[in-house]
């Protein structure tokens, strides 16, 4: 349609006619809104964008995006997306998954997608609970978590998702939260621009089964104390009055008083520094612990590494150049033919 060529797309163009069916107050609404709002900035046509999800509350997401989409099966969105991306490298592919979907039933596909570095965006909605099945603990629930399936407390040690992904040689890891739309939007845009697998963990509140799981990071009273917003090239400063900073003591990060600190000891955020990214993913203390480090938000790490699908195209081009474009009759004939008269 020529009209759409002249008229730029807006967030509204990406909404569908389907009723959004998440619980009132769910953090998913905010994420949907931000994703729809950044879509026009991708510079892609709607038909070239695909959303693929697994199973879980968040996985309803594709039904609400007026693009191509697939609501697949539990844990497998990453595997479906792998096949799609190899087949159609030019598409903008977005994977919507949750903590159970990505890290429990789909853990294997997640790490393999990351090592292959397909150019896709993974939005991991982490609410530290199984919502769709009505409230069992998830692989990111803290130790001792009391849920329907763990009445005396969970025995599982939780995954640290970004550390796991960095361990699988992720080329882009970032964290944001549902309650900070501006930050979310900024991180989503950075992820969308990364060429490779962008892993974006989004802290998302499940107000029905796990309300307040991330409250210390989102509540006005504690947010500034408990969070560290990463900014490229800048020292890591946080606190109610921005009075605290992170300094490296050898390889150990410590919270220091900014006024008393030696400026050269302060950690400066550098997205290309793998060691520093490892240190930052370890900022994973229980917010109740004394002497805890703040929880970082923003882009931890970004690296340019070859994409599987591009390498596949190169192999096909190489094989075609070397052997010539496949000739079916020659293939059927093979090399050892005899004739019967």
């Amino acid at each position: 349609m020529s009209e759409t060529l002249t008229k730029p797309l807006t967030a509204k163009d990406f909404a569908t006619d389907q009723d959004v069916r998440w619980c009132p107050g769910c953090g998913d609404y905010s994420i949907l809104k931000q994703v729809q709002s950044i879509m026009p900035e991708l510079g892609r046509d709607k038909e070239d964008i695909v959303f693929i999800s697994g199973i879980g509350c968040s996985s309803r997401f594709p039904y609400y995006m007026n693009t191509y989409g697939m609501h697949s099966i539990h844990g497998r969105a990453t595997a479906v997306a792998s096949g799609l991306k190899i087949s159609r490298p030019e598409l903008s592919v977005w994977i919507i998954t949750g903590d159970g979907d990505a890290l429990s039933i789909g853990g294997n596909h997640l790490i393999h997608m990351i090592r292959r570095n397909f150019d896709v965006n993974i939005l991991l909605f982490n609410n530290e609970i199984y919502g769709l099945t009505k409230g069992q603990y998830s692989p990111t629930s803290p130790e001792g978590k009391v849920t329907k399936s763990t009445p005396i407390g969970s025995l599982d040690h939780p995954f640290n998702p970004l550390k796991l992904c960095l361990g699988a040689d992720s080329t882009f890891i970032a964290r944001t939260m549902d309650r900070d739309p501006k930050h979310q939007r900024d991180v989503l845009l950075q992820g969308s621009k990364h060429v490779g697998t962008s892993m974006i963990e989004i802290y998302q509140n499940c107000n029905v089964f796990n309300d307040g799981a991330f409250e210390v990071f989102t509540d006005k009273g504690t947010k500034l104390q408990e969070t560290l917003f990463l900014e490229s090239g800048k020292p890591m400063i946080f606190g109610a009055e921005r009075e605290k900073a992170i300094a490296l003591d050898g390889t150990t990060p410590r919270v220091v008083n900014l006024a008393e600190a030696n400026e050269s000891d302060l950690m400066i955020h550098d997205e290309t520094n793998h060691f520093q990214a490892q240190v930052l993913t370890s900022f994973f203390d229980n917010p109740k612990d004394e002497g805890r480090l703040p929880r970082p938000f923003g882009v931890f790490y970004a690296e340019d590494r070859y994409r599987y699908e591009e390498a596949m195209e190169e192999q096909i081009a190489f094989a075609t150049e070397k052997m010539g474009k496949g000739n079916l009759d020659q293939l059927l004939r093979g090399n050892n033919v005899w004739t019967v008269d």
Partner: protein
């Protein structure tokens, strides 16, 4: 010394040795050479699951059976005329299959005290009177090989690796075959190691000359070319034929082939073959597991490629949920099951037809899908091509059933030219009319929906595993809608019967007392048995099914033409259940569950028994 040449109509040979003896290679080379001489051939490799089972043990015996002839050859033979035994264990495992007065070619070096002990012999069977019924040719192959390579500078271990070439050369002499084909093969195989080319060729020639100069034979043999239908032929293995069928379907449909799979015996050779043909636009993807392989195919198919996966029973079990998604999405894809002995890990290197019910019913919910089966090694090509055609023209996942026997077996193939292959027309959406709303689940007269691909403007839509509303494809929990959709999906598959050929009686009586109703790899043996029984005057017919779901529309009528229906299967009775269920006929099973194919004799006996009882 010139020897007389004696003509033979058909010969069955079993090569047997340790799994490290190069038996499969020897058998394959002997097969390829005879193929070039125009013989009809059928082969049956039979090897252990262990890559290198303990040397010299019964468990480590690898065998390769082939029958070649100047007359029609439809099975690799029941008993063999010639047994090549590289050691005592190979002798012990295979001697029972040697015909009376058959020939045993023995590597005497494989019968020393240690070999005998490992094979469980107290004294050497070679000194036993029981061998009097056979013609025994004893050769110290190890010594002969080392002598031939005296000046090669190779170590003993390396020299001994060429022993199989000595035996092969010897047999080439015995059956009046030239060495050229194998010499060419050796040159290619060892292109980067000229010293090994020289060694293997020398040993091959040494074996040939030994046949010539020794006084072992009074006469040589010859098997003339078979009178096959005129045309061009090549030799082909089942898995290779399946891979070629998939590529042919990709080329004829104009869709690139995406192949997502996880390595598993006996299906991996399809992956190996396809990976060689990237210049056909083949995207072969070795996924992290069976589930990912299946899901990647779904993604590829969603993107508009010809999505294929292959596995064997255990892998198919893992793919089950995703196959169900494929059925729900109504996207085209083909799932190849190269069946092996089950359940669980079962018998990985042995053959079985025990996954038919899994293909029929092995998914949650009402999830019907078409099933096509291959009957011989070369028929894997046709079946693969047809599976792709049905998938693309009917927008559905399709099962293709093969098994370890035909996957690894080989036979001459009168290959088609590309323009002889039927056309394949994918069901893409028509050019978009701007005013029209696209309904992803709107169907044509065959209940087939249109295929809209990402990138097509105006067709943006969402599909998923939740039940869909008729036409719109929106999520629907409406009870009436669900019942209708279940019935629509079933009817869509049933309607495929309109686009497949009517069933013919493949051989024998068009009506009569007994019908042998078979599917898959039992084709050759049932055909041979029925022909033998017909020759004895028995009114027995043979119907062999390629289409297992849906069945050809006239099958029920054909079944009424016989008093008795016997369903021979390498399982505990699976097709027989479905036949009884769908046609309410008193079909009886004939079952063998030993991980090996039927012998012709077993089928003939079952038919004869029916006639004696009647």
């Amino acid at each position: 010394m010139t020897k007389q040449v004696e003509e033979k109509q058909e010969v069955t040979i079993v090569f047997a040795g340790d799994s490290g003896d190069g038996i499969q290679l020897t058998g394959t080379q002997f097969t390829n050479t005879n193929a070039l001489y125009g013989n009809d051939i059928s082969t049956f490799p039979n090897y252990p699951a262990e890559i290198r089972a303990p040397q010299g043990t019964l468990a480590g015996v690898s065998g390769f059976q082939l029958k070649f002839g100047s007359i029609e050859v439809a099975t690799p033979g029941d008993d063999c005329d010639v047994l090549v035994a590289m050691n005592a264990a190979a002798f012990k495992v295979n001697i029972a299959r040697l015909k009376k007065h058959g020939t045993i070619i023995i590597n005497s070096d494989g019968f020393n005290a240690r070999d005998l002990k490992l094979a469980g012999y107290e004294k050497s069977p070679l000194e036993d009177k029981s061998l009097n019924d056979y013609r025994t040719i004893q050769i110290d192959v190890t010594k002969m090989t080392r002598t031939a390579l005296e000046d090669s500078g190779l170590g003993k271990k390396e020299m001994d690796r060429s022993r199989n070439m000595f035996v092969l050369g010897f047999l080439y002499y015995m059956y009046s075959r030239k060495l050229e084909g194998t010499i060419e093969f050796i040159k290619l195989k060892f292109a980067k190691k000229p010293e090994l080319i020289e060694a293997n060729v020398n040993v091959l020639k040494a074996g040939y000359h030994f046949g010539d100069t020794s006084e072992v034979f009074t006469s040589r043999y010859n098997v003339k070319a078979a009178s096959l239908p005129s045309g061009s032929y090549r030799n082909i293995m089942g898995n290779q034929a399946a891979a070629l069928g998939l590529i042919a379907a990709s080329q004829k449909s104009g869709l690139d082939l995406f192949y997502g799979s996880y390595p598993i015996t006996p299906a991996s050779d399809i992956l190996h073959e396809l990976a060689k043909h990237k210049n056909f636009g083949v995207r072969s993807f070795q996924a992290e597991d069976e589930i990912a392989a299946m899901c990647s195919v779904i993604g590829a198919s969603f993107g508009g490629k010809l999505g294929i996966t292959a596995s064997s029973g255990p892998g198919i079990a893992l793919k089950g949920e995703a196959i169900g998604l494929g059925i729900m999405l109504e996207l085209p894809m083909v799932i190849v099951n190269v069946q092996r002995g089950g359940p669980s890990t079962g018998l990985p290197t042995k053959t079985e037809q025990a996954d038919l019910l899994q293909a029929y019913y092995g998914r949650n919910g009402e999830a019907p899908m078409p099933i096509v089966s291959a009957s011989t090694p070369s028929d894997c090509f046709n079946a693969a091509y047809e599976a792709c055609r049905i998938a693309l023209e009917h927008m559905t996942p399709v099962f293709l059933l093969s098994d370890g026997y035909i996957a690894n077996g080989s036979e001459p193939w009168k290959f088609p030219s590309s323009d002889e292959l039927p056309s394949i027309t994918p069901k893409f959406v028509p050019t978009k009319n701007d005013d029209e709303t696209y309904l992803p689940y709107k169907r044509n007269e065959n209940l087939v929906r249109d295929w809209a691909l990402p990138g097509m403007k105006g067709y943006e839509h969402r599909i998923g595993g939740l039940e869909k509303e008729i036409d719109t494809g929106n999520v629907s929990y409406d009870p009436d809608n669900h019942e209708k959709m279940v019935r629509i999906r079933a009817e869509k598959i049933a309607k495929i019967a309109d686009s497949i050929p009517l069933q013919k009686v493949n051989h024998g009586a068009e009506k009569g007392e007994v019908l042998m109703l078979s599917w898959g790899s039992t084709f050759g043996v049932v055909k041979t048995a029925v022909k033998q029984c017909n020759a004895k005057g028995m009114a027995v017919g043979h119907i062999h099914l390629t289409y297992l779901s849906p069945f050809p529309k006239n099958l029920g009528d054909l079944l009424k033409n016989y008093d008795h229906i016997i369903v021979p299967e390498i399982n505990n009775g699976q097709l027989v259940k479905i036949i009884r269920d769908q046609f309410l006929v008193d079909a009886k099973g004939l079952n063998k569950i030993k991980g090996i194919p039927f012998s012709t004799k077993e089928i003939v006996e079952a038919i004869e028994q029916k006639f004696e009882l009647a």
